[in-house]
């Protein structure tokens, strides 16, 4: 069991003190239909004693009605939560589940495998640190494995655990395992997946899930849970640039004007010089309140330094205009400010994406309207081939060029998930119809200084303005 019963019984206060300092690891499970994702999660929860007796007896009753495992408990029914999922025996929407060991709290995004639910898989991948890709040992790498690996990589997940499942059905054969591992290595190289791990397992029987299996003496690695527990997912925070999207302006009285938000990346100290983007105004941090430090009915405490992902309130030395949607950054580490972005889009709606139609684009906490000007190419996620298309259908993934009505301070997604991602909202239906990741930011506004080596006439400036407004695809520089 993942929790130490004896210690809990003997001295709970000491136990709490010792295990208060957990971190969180978010992972995604994906793979082809019937690869046993729900079964694996059911098994993980069951073997780590996270399923309670009353939930188990409900699942046992349901097993008789919908079960696919004969007399045995159908583990998948422990997690498939919607009526229509239980009836059809498939996972439709992403579900989030939790369990904890003494070291970590785990948040599992249980994503569907069907191609038609790719958007839900992308949803699950967006917050994950680690992906578990299940492969049926009998079938090896399938189209779905390629698709999911592509999405996992697209969404910037750096750790991929390849769980070669149903090993019991291939007599726990080392050869089968090695063969699948070798072909996945080729695939992972092609995509550029950074860290990969391979585990032979049987979710149904519980081999190498929580406990080491006797059936795979040739496997020297750890069981899945141990691997997850030990995985290093820390980022080099100190190197990250400070980004602070202003979420809410807090003005309880005339003496206080604070800017609330969550530190998206990096850290900031009292006295640091900061720039407000996109306006470009500069000031200094006067004080910081870390919301996490405020105790009930206590005086608010200020602190000297805060870092991601703290929720804080910052006050500035100068009374300058800062509003929701602005981003505060260190003056020395500024992002590019532009209204033209090269992005990867995932279309998530039945209604196809239309070129030049105005959509609302929500990035961090700001909503700005914009258009997709051009589809550079669509990626076939099964073959990774590029295709020329005129519109995007549900679940399509494509490289596009977007122009916003106002410039934003933008980072590349691979450098900053928080400031490099956005959703697309249809202005009529209000649905989230697509999501995007910034690949590149056209250099425009911030190159002003470089182009200002000569003095332009008013007529030249007016012409420049006209071209930039009406022909943004020309990428005309601001003068």
């Amino acid at each position: 069991m993942s929790i130490n019963n004896e210690k809990i019984s003997l001295d709970i206060e000491a136990y709490l003190k010792e295990y208060e300092n957990k971190d969180i690891l978010r992972f995604l499970t994906c793979g082809s239909v019937d690869d046993g994702k729900s079964t694996l999660i059911g098994r993980l929860l069951y073997d780590s004693k996270m399923i309670f007796d009353d939930q188990l007896s409900t699942a046992q009753n349901e097993s008789k009605k919908y079960g696919t495992t004969g007399e045995k408990l159908d583990m998948a029914l422990l997690v498939d939560g919607l009526q229509s999922e239980r009836e059809q025996g498939i996972t439709i929407d992403v579900a989030y589940r939790f369990f904890a060991t003494e070291k970590r709290k785990f948040i599992i995004a249980d994503a569907p495998g069907h191609e038609q639910y790719t958007r839900n898989m992308v949803t699950g991948a967006s917050t994950a640190d680690v992906a578990i890709i299940l492969i049926d040992a009998r079938k090896g790498i399938l189209t779905q494995t390629r698709r999911h690996s592509f999405i996992v990589n697209l969404l910037g997940i750096e750790h991929v655990i390849v769980a070669i499942n149903k090993m019991d059905l291939v007599n726990f054969s080392k050869e089968v395992f090695d063969e699948i591992q070798a072909s996945y290595e080729t695939l992972a190289d092609e995509l550029g997946i950074k860290n990969r791990y391979y585990i032979p397992l049987s979710a149904l029987e519980g081999d190498n899930v929580v406990n080491q299996s006797d059936n795979t003496p040739w496997y020297a690695g750890e069981p899945l849970l141990e691997l997850l527990d030990a995985m290093d997912i820390s980022k080099k925070e100190t190197e990250e640039k400070f980004r602070f999207p202003v979420q809410y302006v807090n003005r309880p009285n005339l003496d206080f004007r604070g800017f609330c938000g969550t530190v998206a990346s990096g850290s900031v100290k009292v006295g640091d010089e900061i720039t407000v983007l996109p306006s470009g105004k500069t000031t200094k941090v006067k004080s910081i309140i870390n919301a996490g430090d405020i105790k009930e009915n206590h005086k608010q405490l200020t602190c000297n330094e805060v870092y991601a992902p703290m929720a804080v309130t910052i006050t500035t030395e100068d009374e300058i205009d800062i509003s929701r949607g602005d981003i505060l950054v260190h003056t020395k580490k500024m992002p590019r400010v532009s209204n033209t972005l090269k992005v990867m889009l995932v279309w998530m709606n039945e209604t196809p994406m239309q070129i030049a139609k105005t959509y609302d684009i929500k990035r961090a906490v700001s909503v700005i309207s914009g258009v997709v000007e051009h589809i550079n190419y669509k990626i076939d996620v099964n073959t990774y081939k590029r295709e020329q298309v005129k519109e995007l259908q549900l679940n399509d993934i494509a490289s596009c060029k977007i122009t916003l009505t106002r410039p934003i301070a933008a980072d590349k997604y691979k450098e900053n998930r928080r400031t490099g991602s956005f959703i697309i909202v249809d202005r009529v239906t209000n649905n989230t119809v697509g999501v995007g990741m910034i690949v590149d930011v056209a250099a425009r506004e911030n190159e002003r200084k470089e182009t200002q080596t000569r003095n332009y006439t008013d007529a030249e400036k007016a012409l420049n303005y006209y071209i930039r407004e009406n022909f943004p695809e020309w990428n005309c520089k601001l003068i």
Binding site: N5, I8, I12, E13, L16, E20, I24, F52, D54, N61, E62, G81, L82, Q83, S84, D93, Y96, R97, F98, A100, R104, D110, R119, N120, V122, T123, S126, T127, E237, T238, Q247, N250, P252, G258, C260, T262, S267, I289, A291, G292, I294, K295, E296, Q300, E305, A308, P309, M310, A311, D360, K362, R417, R418, S421, F422, V425, N430, N431, T432, V435
Partner: protein
């Protein structure tokens, strides 16, 4: 610059919830926070205070009172509202009052529908709220695990599990038309254990019903029900025994089972949860009236 820059899981969860609460305050015209007096509500109230300090919490609090809540809950509610000075709206379904709906007489299903689901919809219509913040957690029940943090409701307050908006990263789509609303669950990613550890760490006040004490209980439909007032049928009341019990979850007293326990402090409660083999909602009769009960209730507008 070489300080260890990472947050423990409770502080990460806290920051995530505060972000969600601020997003609601910034994006909606008329948000409301459901205050049901339990431990999850207590945590949400605490988070809301942190999110907006030094200002006051910028939304109204709403309690849907089925009139069958534990007496202590009502007392605790009013005391907290007074202490912290938050705006509290209390609503009970007048039709239900007229019909004299009682869980003992009419059963849990009808009682819950009229005094909770219908009452909630009335209160939301009366208030014209566009965002309703609730303390539901994904670990509570399987259909909850499927729900978004910002969960869209049509103008009839219905949830369509197959038409949920994709929700990626921490970017929340808050766009709605007049009459529609969004239910927001800031503590979606917390577990029961997280809630208790956080209450312990932060010293958050909670009703004493959560702590074990000798109380008068009767056996009713397979669970231990506390004798909380005179309305319990005489016949049932006669069978009352004094036992050392506490509650893992608080709702209507005739529908909320007590558990035998000796846990009188927070660490003891946490120990009990860590060692328990039964889920938190095991004592909730309303979850069990049929398979998929919660999902169906939610589709109809229940929280």
């Amino acid at each position: 610059m070489l300080i260890k820059k990472s947050l423990i899981h409770l502080k990460q969860l806290e920051a995530e919830s505060i972000y969600i609460l601020r997003e609601v305050a910034a994006e909606f015209c008329n948000p409301v926070m459901m205050y049901s007096v339990g431990k999850d509500s207590s945590v949400m109230l605490h988070l809301a205070q942190k999110a907006f300090a030094p200002a006051k919490v910028p939304f109204t609090f709403l309690h849907v009172d089925t009139l069958w809540k534990f007496a202590e809950m009502i007392e605790f509610r009013d005391k907290r509202a007074k202490e912290l000075g938050f705006d509290l709206v209390v609503h009970s379904n007048p039709e239900g009052i007229a019909m004299n709906i009682s869980p003992f007489e009419h059963g849990s299903k009808l009682h819950t529908d009229i005094m909770k689901t219908q009452a909630l919809k009335q209160a939301l219509n009366n208030g014209g709220y566009d965002a309703i913040i609730g303390g539901a957690r994904r670990d509570e029940e399987k259909s909850r695990a499927k729900e978004r943090i910002f969960s869209f409701r049509d103008k009839y307050h219905r949830w369509d599990p197959k038409k949920q908006r994709p929700e990626l990263w921490n970017i929340f789509n808050t766009a709605i038309e007049k009459g529609e609303s969004v239910r927001v669950f800031p503590i979606s990613n917390w577990t029961e254990l997280d809630v208790w550890q956080y209450i312990y760490l932060e010293g958050i006040p909670i009703p004493s019903l959560y702590f074990a004490k000798e109380r008068e209980v009767v056996e009713y439909e397979g669970t231990k029900i506390m004798v909380d007032d005179e309305r319990m049928p005489e016949q049932l009341r006669k069978t009352a025994k004094t036992e050392m019990v506490r509650f893992r979850t608080l709702g209507c007293y005739p529908l909320t089972g007590a558990i035998n326990s000796t846990a009188t402090t927070l660490p003891e409660i946490i120990r009990e949860i860590l060692l328990s083999t039964l889920s938190e909602r095991e004592g909730r009769l309303i979850d069990k009236d049929s398979e998929g009960a919660m999902e169906r209730k939610k589709i109809e507008g229940y929280f």
